[in-house]
């Protein structure tokens, strides 16, 4: 039974990574036209606003399965405070940081009306850091990333998102867009 939770934790970790990729890509797409071959910006924006419904369950199942899996030895405190585990401190700690950042992004998004638009945008940019920490967490601790197919798919999606994030950054820093 214990290995059942271990399998669930592994599968839900990859599912959470996939869901976060969809969320970040749909957030980048309206400015980069990354998904214009699929749909217009309004539909892509609707997808981005909806993605917490797939990211939260996947992340929640991953965390709960690790808590129930006795051999992983993850405690409640390890879920929220990084680098406390007795083994794999960096690999697991990066996952903890990504979960903390995910919570920050979700809470600030739900409280968006209480922030100015500029302040909310800065909070929302934390999601880029959250994606990077989750990617590193997956690479350093992912059991199934030893599979060439899963590794190639994970790297390809990570590189694709990095490409569109840099394109988005380039457009934001374009001097012609800065008002005099």
């Amino acid at each position: 039974m214990d290995l059942f939770f271990w399998e669930i934790a592994r599968a839900s970790g990859l599912a959470a990574y996939a869901a976060l990729c969809i969320s970040v890509l749909s957030g980048l797409a309206p400015r980069t036209q990354a998904l214009s071959f699929l749909a217009n910006n309004r539909a892509v924006r609707a997808l981005h606003d909806w993605t917490p419904w797939i990211v939260i369950p996947a992340a929640l199942v991953h965390v709960v399965a690790l808590l129930l899996d006795a051999t992983a030895r993850i405690g409640i405190l390890d879920v929220f405070v990084p680098f406390l585990t007795s083994y794999g401190q960096l690999a697991i700690g990066l996952g903890t940081i990504s979960l903390d950042l995910l919570i920050i992004v979700l809470v600030t998004t739900w409280m968006r009306r209480r922030f100015s638009n500029n302040a909310w945008q800065w909070w929302h940019r934390v999601s880029y850091l959250g994606f990077v920490t989750m990617f590193l967490h997956a690479m350093l601790s992912g059991t199934d990333l030893t599979s060439p197919v899963i590794s190639v798919l994970s790297w390809a999606s990570g590189i694709g998102i990095a490409y569109y994030a840099l394109e988005r950054l380039g457009k934001a820093l374009n001097p012609s867009r800065i008002r005099a």
Partner: protein
């Protein structure tokens, strides 16, 4: 000094002759949401199947001690395996000692 030709109305920027038309895909919002849901669920199911088939990944960066212990007993029948209490970051989290 005025020109004799009549003043033409300005050409709308969005429908100008030299402007390329941006065409976006036909998928509606609900289609994207369904695709996202099916993708995530598909990744979960296929990953669960893979994890079930490859329960003992000996070269995984982190692995529970019981997994490593079972993997060792499978491969070395004549040896006694003793799993370490805490999962290790090292490749095999098992110490093997031969019976004399």
């Amino acid at each position: 000094m005025k020109a004799n030709s009549p003043t033409l109305p300005p050409i709308p920027a969005r429908t100008g002759p030299g402007r390329p038309k941006k065409r976006s895909g036909p998928v509606p919002a609900w289609g994207l949401k369904l695709g996202g849901l099916l993708t995530t669920f598909g990744v979960f199911v296929s990953s669960f199947g893979y994890a079930n088939a490859h329960l003992y990944v000996t070269n995984a960066p982190l692995q529970p001690a019981t997994v490593a212990a079972v993997a060792t007993t499978d491969t070395t029948a004549a040896t006694t395996s003793t799993a370490t209490a805490v999962p290790s970051t090292a490749q095999p989290a098992v110490t093997v000692t031969k019976k004399s």
